[in-house]
């Protein structure tokens, strides 16, 4: 049996605002196999984004065990986290995914530049992933010249360029109309099926539910499989 790509045991996360404590995660257990296309639903404030940030190595767990693709994130240091973000995961947010002063191609290339690859090589790969998301003809456009749906697909392309094992998406369709939503989900589904990339998506959108292989509900900091 292949080891799960995400393995979480009793993870807790508390935020502190001055004297106010918010328990965002109240002992989350999770196990997700490689190649899944998982979606997390749940009310606002339930802790979805918090969980995604922890799994993506952007934030740290308070206590518990969190392993993603063999990396123990609960005990990783800052350098290991940077490396993890760079090499293993891609992130797609609801909005503001791209640097406005760079064109689409250069935005896509950023993770490779962070890795230290040459600009030439990065751009060559960048063109390939732009082709994969069907936006090769938009390579010279700045984010401001692209539609919301196109921006999200560029963000997906940027996530793909490092050949990640896991792509995390936080309400990726939140700002999109139904047509763009369908386009984006088609892209994600085909990447999941053809390249075997694992996706974990936090969303409120019921319409995309049918694409999921695994469904979760997150409420009051507790994760349940549905």
């Amino acid at each position: 049996m292949p080891s799960p790509i995400i393995l979480a045991k009793k993870i807790y996360k508390t935020y502190q605002n001055n004297t106010l404590y918010v328990n965002a995660l109240n002992g989350v257990d999770m196990e997700l196999p490689q190649g899944a296309l998982a979606m997390i639903y749940g009310p606002s404030g339930g802790g979805k984004s918090t969980l995604l940030h922890l799994i993506g190595g952007i934030d740290r767990v308070q206590s518990g065990y969190l392993e993603v693709d063999g990396v123990c994130l609960h005990s990783a240091n800052e350098k290991q986290l940077t490396q993890f973000r760079r090499d293993k995961t891609g992130f797609v947010f609801q909005f503001y995914n791209l640097l406005p002063s760079l064109n689409a191609l250069d935005n896509v290339c950023l993770p490779l530049l962070a890795k230290g690859e040459s600009i030439k090589q990065a751009r060559r790969k960048g063109l390939l992933v732009l082709q994969q998301v069907g936006l090769l003809d938009r390579q010279r456009h700045r984010p401001g010249q692209l539609s919301g749906g196109e921006q999200q697909r560029i963000a997906v392309a940027r996530a793909l360029i490092v050949e990640p094992v896991l792509v995390l998406a936080d309400e990726p369709t939140g700002d999109l109309d139904s047509h763009s939503t369908i386009e984006l989900m088609d892209l994600i589904t085909s990447l999941n099926q053809n390249l075997g990339i694992t996706f974990l998506i936090a969303t409120h959108n019921i319409d995309i539910r049918s694409a999921a292989t695994h469904l979760f509900e997150m409420k009051d900091g507790i994760l349940k499989m549905i």
Partner: protein, 389 residues
């Protein structure tokens, strides 16, 4: 290659942010401008004080009731009696030389300018005076002027000027470390004729021979020959020290001004850095997410601030140069005849450049320390979940 890429990216970035960038550059360049002017002022003040040479063993005589040299009135009879007294007490060879100067303060072209006489001895290159251009006065109605006079008034050799109703021709420009101010010099005989004050002058000088104790002579004269109005006796090096002290005050003020300016530059670059961090928090967070290490992000931010500071610095420098040029050809302010040149020097350029680039590193480091150690996760959350506070 990579550096160029980052440079292009950052310039692009700065240009896109043009309004904020322009304001930052303008305010920083004004501070840089003041930095250069205050540096120039300090070196001007330094020149005034350091240019003075003191002639040892020299006593200066001025009327006891005079505040300024030009108020002094000494007659030959009194001055002679001092010399006789010195010779009586300290020996016939106690005095090396003595001479007198007529000294006036003129108003010329809206400025206060000194007029002094030259002895025959002084009218040849010596310790005190150097002829820079032209010749010493050798005809009637000829004068020489100092370089400062020449610069301040733009009167030069061959020009004439009216003094006390008479026309004089400038025959030469001289330099003297002792007379750095704007001064007109004429031979004693001409001055006596011009002012019709034969037997009366403003300043008397007695240089003593080396084996005579100048302090002792001064004390003796001050205590025993102080009847009547004549004279206060100073020692030349005391005079110089007094002058240096006066200039030191102004120099100190200019230094404080410069320190304040340096502080402002440091503060300004810190401000610019914090501004960038806040305004571009999302972009910084994004760089973080895609895997740039804090170190690299720091480097990019320092580089960005450097570009801004570099532009501001060049702009401020350019403005200071232009102002300095304009000032020298139009304003030419002087402190008691000492020209303030406001010369923008290469030294201050390098000093300022070094300091400013250091400030940039420190301020980015400071502002980022805060960001990374405490806030990076919170800031990411804030940015990507649209949650504020």
């Amino acid at each position: 290659m990579k550096l160029l890429y980052v440079l292009r990216f950052l310039i692009n970035h700065i240009v896109r942010d043009w309004l904020r960038s322009t304001l930052t550059i303008l305010s920083l360049s004004m501070i840089v401008f003041i930095f250069f002017l205050s540096s120039a002022l300090i070196s001007d003040m330094g020149n005034f004080g350091n240019g003075l040479i003191d002639v040892p063993q020299t006593l200066i005589f001025m009327s006891r009731n005079a505040m300024l040299p030009s108020d002094s009135q000494i007659n030959t009879v009194d001055f002679d009696s001092y010399q006789t007294a010195i010779q009586d007490l300290f020996g016939a060879h106690a005095i090396k030389q003595s001479y007198t100067k007529i000294f006036r303060q003129l108003h010329y072209d809206g400025r206060s300018i000194s007029l002094s006489t030259l002895t025959q001895d002084e009218m040849q290159d010596g310790a005190d005076f150097f002829l820079l251009e032209g010749s010493w006065p050798n005809k009637k109605q000829e004068i020489v002027v100092t370089r400062a006079f020449n610069t301040i008034t733009e009167k030069s050799i061959g020009d004439t000027m009216t003094i006390y109703g008479s026309e004089f021709l400038i025959s030469g420009i001289i330099n003297s470390e002792k007379w750095m101010a704007a001064v007109i010099f004429m031979p004693v005989s001409q001055a006596e004729k011009l002012y019709q004050t034969e037997g009366i002058f403003q300043l008397g000088f007695i240089q003593l021979n080396n084996d005579v104790d100048a302090n002792l002579v001064q004390q003796f004269l001050e205590t025993n020959l102080n009847d009547g109005d004549c004279c206060s006796v100073y020692q030349d090096d005391h005079f110089v020290a007094l002058y240096r002290d006066a200039v030191k005050g102004i120099r100190f003020l200019a230094r404080i001004l410069q320190l304040i300016v340096l502080f402002l530059i440091a503060f300004g670059s810190y401000n610019a850095s914090v501004l960038v961090l806040n305004e571009h928090e999302r972009e910084i967070a994004l760089l973080h997410v895609v895997g740039f290490s804090p170190k690299v992000i720091n480097g990019i931010l320092i580089f960005r601030l450097w570009i801004l500071l570099f532009i501001s610095y060049l702009l401020g420098y350019g403005l200071a140069l232009i102002y300095s040029k304009w000032y020298l050809s139009n304003l030419r302010l002087a402190i008691s005849g000492n020209l303030i040149r406001l010369e923008i020097t290469w030294d201050s350029f390098l000093l300022g450049a070094g300091l400013i680039f250091l400030f940039a590193v420190i301020s980015v480091w400071f502002s980022l320390r805060h960001q990374y150690t405490k806030n990076i996760h919170v800031s990411l959350q804030k940015v990507f979940t649209g949650r504020v506070g």
